[in-house]
């Protein structure tokens, strides 16, 4: 059965449709793979009984001729998504053993289409982190290791469990979320595909909120086509999220494999940053060649405010987080610590429940929103954000999409960058701009570095133009011919 886990989502769906294997067989193989991969710490909760029950229901739907788009496909769900009757903690102690009595819209959409849930995936606490090291359940270990080394590497973050699980063939795809790069950077670090769609494509309802104007859900998958299939199910208008866009969801898979001839692809010169490994620069140049060979017109563009995106983000995101996380007061759910009076109960609960990085961001957010500082910080950041969005609008006058590296390095060692918050924040230097501007962007595995670790290229598109991204990503995927897998050590 081991080979069933090496299938792509598309391959598995075809096999289920042709009757080559059942959903129960496919799920059982993945349940065993999940159990065997506990050293990766990708899952914080395994739900094998639920998975097999969902698989049995899928097999009977298929027998009745009622199979949905994803029927029988075993997936992992990031622990930020509330799942009805299944513990959901955002990998924070403050949620304790929270068991939602409702289902997030995105996971409900996947289950509506027949997907099977294998369990809940590890992540940085409240999605705040770029290395998965802030999780209350401990870091995820990247299935990839550098050649000749046993050093444990980060899978990236915050969706590190999602990326590691997909890369290690523990599931056929996973849900993830991206506030500053949390889908794309882990995808790049693990040789997987990840897309953050346009802000408003996927409902945020039932997803623990971090920074509401930036948070967006999306899939991490083995291939561009798999990501397209998953996003088609996850997306859609939801009246329960007032920022959900009232637009039709196209069949994104139909865009994969389409010719990219004549598309104009911009290369922003500001994405060449100091200290970027030459290998990443070379890979980027290769990506440009691949798209040129596929018939794209390459244009140089300028996004002059790029370097201000991260500092603007570190005002907007903590400000919104400090407000969103005010709800964790120990009264209605989650952890409650003792105290001599109500204020002490609040303070002790939040001191015991939040980890250091979450506290740091709440404090920054509280400070920048406090009396007398709002204009100097938050308002200024929202104006800079407009400048960043305007940069993209100007770029679209001369191109249809942009090609950049996804991250400024390959996966680094666990523990290496914990001491310096700003060094950690710089992981998101290429990804955070599109969260601020609300634009779709996608990471595609494109090559290996000298140590044999995966590197990704990022495609950025116009609002609601994920279709073009899927066509371009398909072209990069075909040209790169990326087939490498992590060598199993777990």
């Amino acid at each position: 059965m081991a080979s069933l886990t090496s299938l792509t989502l598309k391959g598995a769906l075809d096999g289920l449709a042709s009757g080559a294997f059942s959903a129960v067989e496919l799920t059982q193989a993945h349940v065993e793979a999940v159990e065997a991969a506990r050293p990766l710490n990708a899952f914080v909760l395994e739900t094998p009984e639920k998975a097999l029950e969902m698989a049995r229901a899928s097999d009977s739907r298929r027998a009745r001729g009622e199979a949905g788009r994803l029927d029988g496909a075993p997936l992992g769900i990031k622990d930020l998504f509330c799942t009805e009757g299944v513990r959901s903690t955002a990998c924070s102690k403050i949620l304790g053993d929270f068991v939602p009595t409702y289902e997030s819209t995105v996971s409900a959409n996947l289950f509506r289409d027949g997907a099977v849930m294998l369990g809940k995936l590890n992540m940085d606490e409240f999605a705040m982190g770029s290395s998965n090291e802030t999780s209350a359940f401990g870091a995820v270990v990247n299935p990839w290791r550098a050649a000749g080394s046993n050093q444990a590497l980060t899978p990236g973050g915050s969706s590190g469990g999602s990326a590691a699980a997909v890369a290690a063939d523990l599931c056929l795809g996973a849900t993830a979320t991206d506030t500053g790069g949390s889908i794309r950077q882990p995808a790049a670090f693990t040789g997987t595909v990840g897309i953050k769609p346009t802000y408003g494509r996927c409902s945020r309802w039932g997803v623990a909120a971090f920074a509401s104007s930036l948070d967006q859900a999306g899939p991490i998958a083995k291939t561009v086509e798999d990501a397209a299939i998953l996003l088609t199910s996850m997306a859609g208008h939801d009246p329960k999220d007032s920022t959900s866009l009232p637009v039709e969801t196209p069949d994104f898979a139909a865009f994969v494999g389409k010719s990219v001839k004549g598309l104009r692809v911009g290369v922003p010169k500001e994405y060449r940053v100091d200290g970027m490994p030459p290998e990443i620069e070379q890979l980027w140049a290769k990506g440009v060649e691949w798209l040129r060979d596929a018939g794209c017109e390459i244009v140089e563009v300028s996004l002059p405010h790029t370097k201000y995106a991260l500092p603007a983000y570190y005002i907007v995101a903590p400000a919104e987080a400090s407000s969103n996380l005010a709800r964790y007061d120990g009264m209605r759910y989650g952890l409650r610590a003792d105290g001599a009076n109500l204020t002490e109960v609040y303070e002790n609960t939040r001191a015991a429940g939040f980890g250091d990085e979450v506290k740091r961001r709440i404090l920054i957010g509280t400070y920048v929103l406090s009396a007398g500082y709002y204009d100097a910080y938050y308002l200024k950041a929202q104006k800079v954000r407009r400048r960043i969005a305007d940069d993209f609008d100007r770029a679209w006058e001369s191109c249809d999409a942009l090609l950049t590296p996804t991250a400024p390095s390959a996966a680094f060692g666990l523990g290496e960058r914990q001491a310096d918050p700003i060094a950690m924040y710089l992981n998101d230097v290429f990804t955070v701009t599109t969260n601020l501007a609300g634009l779709p962007s996608m990471s595609v595995p494109a090559g290996l570095d000298a140590g044999g670790l995966p590197l990704g290229l990022q495609l950025i598109g116009k609002a609601l133009d994920e279709g073009t991204l899927f066509s371009l990503a398909g072209a990069v995927e075909r040209a790169a011919g990326f087939r490498a897998k992590a060598q199993r050590w777990w």
Binding site: T101, G200, Y314, M331, N341, N348, F354, R360, K383, V384
Partner: protein, 95 residues
Amino acid sequence: MAIDAATVRKVARLARIQEPEERLEPLAQELSGILQWIEQLNEVDTDGVEPMTSAVAVSLPMRDDVVTDGGDPSRVLANAPKSVSNFFVVPKVVE
């Protein structure tokens, strides 16, 4: 702007996070480092720029003012740290 331990104490109080006295100075240094890094935003000319309030321009939708959910105290209270006869039990607030 550099912030001192007293400011951290005040902000932590506002955020309802208990920080032990010995953490205030190290936190002041960390937060000052981050705020100094953020201050490069002052290089950007934002005169006359409208602050961005939403990523994609849409107007906030309105729905009919009708009850869509509710009447289910057991689900509401399912995760309460403490509850009695369909009420949340909270620490005493008034003397």
